[in-house]
Amino acid sequence: MKRKGFIFYLRIYCKILAQDLKSKMSYRADFIISTIGMIFTNISGFVSFWILFRNFPSINGWSYYEMLFLYGFSLVSLTPVQCFFDNNWSLRQNVYSGDFIKYCFRPINMFFYYQSEVFDIKGLGQLAFGIGTLIYSWAKIGLAFTPLMLLKMIVFLLTASLIMIALQNAAAATCFWIQNSFYVLDLAFRFRDYAKYPVTIFSPIFRFIFTFVMPIAFIAYYPSLVILRPHEIPLLSWLSPVIGILFFWASYKIWMHGAMKYSGTGS
């Protein structure tokens, strides 16, 4: 089989996306309520953050606005996983019921086809909220604004988002081996909340774990250092794009490995 090019996949993605949006629009009430629910989630996250900092003006040498920056950074970098990879949550039902077999018979990349089926518009609210937070804290800290910094920001945001995508792919793929992967997925999802704290608060052992085993420190902490503390950037910060790509590639391999050995349910 000839390898299909990037343009080919982009065209297919747009077609599937249009269908998905059409089907979502037929449940308008559900869409509106879900969007409100998403806004609620973001507001409550912000309120708890605010309450915390009313009691404690700084955490481990990080000021309120710097923490706000980390918070905004994590919100933005977690948007792609919400928007493009939401179908991972249905993977276990598809595998369990046998519906997954339909993906095995298409002449395009399985992983691509499966993930492209769902686009979650709700994530866009989170993106707007995150960008707002970032701009606000950027101004309050008094960081300079140059095109180079903007470029750095975009590159590091994109690669940071790969980490959460990788974690979620790997967690979802466990359902190819164990029956109920919901708890694994939920666990990975819950750790996302801790990405917004500086990894330096942990003891060395857990700093290691959260850097290399469950790399949540790369979702916001390491990449933000490039912008926030330009004079003392550790090597890991510069490496974070590489690590993002590496983890994504590994999770893709795990996912595909599971999918390839899937034998259906016989129905």
């Binding site: 309520i33 629910g37 998403m38 309450i51 009691n55 029956q179 109920n180 708890y183 666990l187």
Partner: protein, 267 residues
Amino acid sequence: MKLKKYLTLTRAGIIEALQFRLSFLVMVVGNMLYLIVVYFLWKAIYASAGTDVVNGMTFTDTLIYLVLATALFNFMEMYTVWEIGRNIQSGKIVLDLLKPMEYRKYLFWSYSGSFVTQFFLTFLPTFIAVAFVTHGAIHMGLNLLYFVISVVLAVSINYSIDFLVGTICLYTESIWGINIMKQVIVLLLSGATIPLAFFPEPLKTIVGYLPFQSIYNAPLSILLDSAPQPHTLLVTLGTQLLWCVVMIILSKLFWKASLKQITVNGG
């Protein structure tokens, strides 16, 4: 013989829950990881504060409060809203309504089995771990008894709120959005995310008048109070009892009024 039919459902629930042994393991491991994260996070927060006691809570108090709040959440969360919503969408609700038992009771008792298993397999290990980590900071005395009473009331309030929210699905046919809104509101305003003691003043008073604080804040404050005043104890439990009765009546009335709304497509 009235109780027997309910206990049969409990038994079935236990057997069903034991089918997913691996998920308990994941949950316990998840709770332990959560304990670690919360431990380091709040340790750093308290270290930056400079004082040992903030808003009347020490570091150990906060740790016990937050970790047990999560353990209680795992224990109490019955995914009622999901269940009702899914049953409405699939049409299975018709079969449940025909059963010679009130739907509200049927749903509760068919879940009660997972209370038993969850208590022994996830809550108890977490409780022991916390007691161990904090070197016996949890006072082992009469307060444990009050705690258990308080948790029973909390389970009932939580279920009534869930059922009330689940009933809304009859009108909206939206599950995810409704559920996330409920979850976010309950977790924030009940003190499960940040102890209510940290809330700024007007907010704290408002939250005190809402039913949510009876779910997590009430049992946990009772547990942490080693020498409770009879007055405070009475007020806390009395408030819980009041909310318990109010929410049961409300959820029953709302369900009764909404049942006429039901439309089932096939089944």
